[in-house]
């Protein structure tokens, strides 16, 4: 039973009862007096406001490392309410953890994706560091394990599953059975085609977001996202192949990877056009 004259609000995501004329700053002074950032329903406020039933108040002291409990609430505070729930419920598979896949994984973890399935057979090599999201300390580790280590350090609330296998026609369907969206992030053009062909024919209820033509330092704006069919999106300029004299470089690979990541986000949020 709620006491008369009280309303319930969420303070750092914990249900609390406060007086029905309480303001955001009243509650801050009561619960976390030294908080210098006050977020009300996802927006940082600069002026005091009277709280309403079910308001969400987040109190942060700048520079303080939050407890695990607070952390998720604080990450969520940067996401538009309503968006976060959908993103949190999504499950995405990433095929290949090189320049594209490692960047897609990091971006999706930062937006609070619910579950990531990371698939790669390879280990981190020094030459990978020119564009892939790994650190020196990861050299020699399997990319799946190195990426899991990174993602845990960024957002420990993402459920990360890893599979250290070489994907081909024989195991693609079973590997990605449980995800909603698959990101094609391979290097080899034959592997790219094989994954897309297999997903489109054997997993027709999944959506695949692939990439082709991302090498070099050609114009930013030549990287495009195209919707090839309802469940197949393609990112890149279609022609810039990685080859001697036209290497893969961090900026353009990351542009393409984040086209892929934003396409995944848009699909999750029901925005099916490019």
């Amino acid at each position: 039973m709620l006491e008369v004259g009280k309303i319930k609000v969420f303070v750092n995501e914990k249900l609390s009862e406060v007086g029905d004329n309480s303001t955001a700053y009243d509650v801050r002074n009561l619960i976390k007096k030294d908080a210098d950032i006050v977020i009300l329903n996802g927006h940082i406020i600069k002026e005091d406001m009277v709280l309403k039933e079910n308001d969400r108040l987040t109190l942060i002291k700048r520079g303080e490392v939050p407890t695990q409990d607070e952390l998720e609430a604080l990450l969520v505070a940067r996401h538009t309410p309503g968006v976060h729930e959908k993103v949190k419920n999504a499950s995405v598979g990433i095929a290949g953890l090189g320049g594209l896949g490692s960047q897609v994984a990091v971006s999706l973890a930062r937006i609070g994706i619910g579950r990531l399935l990371l698939v790669d057979f390879d280990v981190v090599e020094p030459s990978n560091l020119n564009r892939q999201q790994y650190f020196i300390k990861h050299i020699g580790m399997f990319k799946t394990e190195a990426m899991k280590d990174l993602l845990t350090a960024i957002n420990p609330f993402v459920e990360v599953e890893t599979k250290q296998i070489y994907l081909d026609e024989t195991n693609i369907a079973e590997t990605f059975l449980d995800v909603d969206i698959i990101v094609e992030a391979f290097d080899d053009p034959g592997c790219k085609a094989s994954l897309v062909n297999t997903v489109l024919s054997k997993l027709p209820d999944k959506t695949i977001v692939a990439a082709s033509g991302i090498a070099g330092y050609f114009s930013n704006n030549s990287i495009r996202t195209k919707k090839i069919k309802d469940n197949f999106y393609l990112v890149g300029d279609n022609v810039s192949e990685a080859q001697p004299g036209c290497g893969l470089m961090a900026p353009r690979v990351a542009i393409a990877a984040n086209h892929q990541a934003n396409t995944v986000l848009r699909i999750i949020l029901g925005e099916k056009e490019v």
Binding site: A193, I228, L234
Partner: protein
Amino acid sequence: MIVNGKERDFDSGITVNELLEKLNLSKDTVVVEVNLEIVPKDQYAAKILNEDDKVEIVSFVGGG
């Protein structure tokens, strides 16, 4: 027939394999869709294309 949105002239009865050869594309690095249906790779040799078919070919290049 329409190939990637453009009207192109090819001999009637051409297979997907033959079309890929004419376009100088490898069958190992493409996704082929005919009238919105994906054609599995093992059917490229047998699948015959007709005049009114709408063909979409995505050809992948390396890099990731």
